[in-house]
């Protein structure tokens, strides 16, 4: 059963056309990887699915509802996304960052998710003192703490070592087993993404 349907989508950003006429469906409880060369619109496609980037034409349906007709609050219940760019500029502890905007149930899960992502030792450190890879894992942990049917990750492996990458793949597979849908932007070559259910190739 499909949870996301992309119909004849054209995206434009900063007056530059990224792609035209993209159609795809994403099944519930699957892992999809968006791949393609730099600048082809991979991250923009994620932002279109999250409703942050309005399509020039075409539409996106999530759980059979047109995304453009849903309020920000309604959309927030559908998905959780880990951004690639750094957004934590003020000195707060990792624990404080992870708790921001989370439900009480999610806050009770902080220790477990931190342990899964190798962040336990860093929970009381200032986020401003972490390395790029550690900050990326904080962002991924924050995303995983929210309970949503769809999870999106923008280049989650970009600054991770091999052990962290394998751990992340394991976590994504566990999410899939529990019926969640995962979409990620990857730079890996297609043959290295065999653990994914679907590859969405953008660009040439």
């Amino acid at each position: 059963m499909e949870i996301i349907e992309i119909k004849d989508l054209t995206l434009q950003r900063n007056n530059r056309q990224l792609f035209t006429g993209l159609s795809a469906t994403i099944a519930k409880g699957s892992i999809s990887a968006i791949v393609g060369p730099n600048g082809c619109g991979k991250s923009s496609l994620l932002l279109a699915i999250t409703g942050d980037l309005k399509p020039s034409s075409g539409s996106i349906f999530i759980a059979e509802k047109n995304l453009q007709e849903l309020s920000d609050l309604e959309q927030s219940h559908l998905r959780s996304m880990a951004l690639q760019e750094r957004t934590f500029w003020l000195p707060m502890t990792v624990r404080e960052i992870l708790a921001l905007g989370q439900s009480d149930a999610a806050i009770n899960q902080i220790e477990k998710i931190a342990s899964d992502l190798g962040l336990t030792e860093l929970l009381d450190n200032l986020v401003t003192t972490l390395s790029v890879g550690q900050v990326q894992r904080v962002e991924i942990a924050r995303t995983l703490l929210r309970d949503c049917p769809i999870y999106l990750f923008d280049e989650p492996f970009a600054a991770q070592d091999l052990a962290s990458k394998e751990k992340l793949i394991e976590i994504f597979k566990q999410l899939r087993s529990s019926g969640k849908t995962i979409i990620l932007v990857a730079h890996s070559e297609v043959e290295k993404l065999s653990w994914c259910d679907q590859i969405i190739q953008l660009g040439s």
Partner: protein
């Protein structure tokens, strides 16, 4: 944390006592005048204590708290540790608002109308900074530009009109508490209390801005709406400060940084801590400014920089406050 709060409260009490005792004129029997307000009420000592020194101490405490609070909110609202009302253009906008109000004969420095003009100027300048800046990185550069632009217009208006009512360039660039009176308190006190109440109320929303605008939207909230509320509070706090005592530099940057290092980054704690630290720095600064070279006064902005900058530099070096 309780110990740190207690130490700041003790320091504030010591600063208040020192500020009561120090000044160009030695007040004999000061405790008697203080605890028996009716005692010898026609004397110069009574006048100095109740009409000059006590209102000035209260103005220093409230304006310091207002600037400390405004700085803390500015950093959180901009999600940028370098943001403060001076850098975002808010202070220069408030100065221009008051100068225009005075030149049009619609307001006097320190009056309610001056606060209104200052608020309009402050909000206009801040809105321009955020409209022109397309990214968090550009915010500071654009803010410095906006601030320079508004300050230049203030300077030109003061020079061109030669109107003593609009005060000197020194007042608008370095500030002065010399003309603060008990009437000033009637405006400052309610504005600060109302702003503090709303700042405390929106503090959890300000925390969320640390995640960045897109992540705030992903939670179903609007970063713009939260920021707008923050700017209204900052605008009012800076307006009441600038229209009463001019622009006091550095305080709104130093106080929240010191508060963040001592008490962490959650905005509920920051609203209280940054207000207290701002109040302490300004009271100590003003006491030094008026008692080092009596009967002359040193510009308060210089003293707040001299006090705040070394503390800030030392703490930041020690606490890894910025990115590696």
């Amino acid at each position: 944390m309780k110990l740190r709060f207690s130490l700041i409260i003790i320091a504030l009490n010591i600063a208040v006592v020192a500020s009561l005792l120090l000044g160009a004129t030695q007040v004999e029997n000061i405790w008697r005048y203080l605890f028996s307000p009716g005692f010898d009420s026609a004397s110069t000592n009574h006048l100095i204590l109740w009409q000059i020194r006590i209102p000035r101490i209260l103005v220093a405490l409230l304006i310091g708290a207002a600037l400390g609070l405004a700085g803390a909110i500015a950093q959180s609202a901009a999600n940028n540790p370098l943001a403060d009302p001076a850098i975002l253009g808010t202070s220069a906008g408030a100065s221009l608002g008051v100068v225009i109000g005075v030149l049009l004969n619609l307001a006097e420095v320190g009056s309610v109308l001056a606060v209104l003009f200052a608020t309009i100027g402050a909000l206009l300048a801040t809105a321009l900074t955020f409209t022109w800046a397309r990214s968090v990185g550009a915010l500071i550069i654009i803010g410095i530009g906006t601030s320079a632009l508004f300050s230049a217009v203030v300077g030109l208006l003061i020079t061109a009109t030669n109107n003593p009512e609009i005060r000197s360039i020194s007042f608008w660039s370095l500030g002065s508490l010399a003309l603060a009176t008990s009437e000033s308190l009637l405006i400052i006190t309610p504005v600060f209390l109302v702003c503090f109440f709303f700042a405390f109320k929106i503090a959890p929303q300000l925390d969320l801005l640390s995640l960045g605008d897109i992540s705030v939207r992903h939670l179903g909230l609007s970063a713009k709406t939260i920021r707008l509320k923050a700017f209204l509070i900052i605008g009012l706090l800076v307006a009441v400060s600038v229209s009463t005592v001019g622009s006091i530099s550095f305080l709104a940057l130093a106080a929240p940084h010191i508060a963040r290092i001592l008490f962490g980054g959650k905005n509920r704690i920051l609203t209280i801590a940054s207000s207290l630290i701002g109040a302490l720095i300004l009271l100590v600064g003003d006491t030094i400014a008026r008692s080092v070279l009596p009967p002359y006064e040193l510009p308060i902005g210089l003293i707040t920089s001299l006090l705040g900058a070394p503390i800030l530099i030392l703490l930041v070096r020690k606490a890894a406050l910025t990115w590696k």
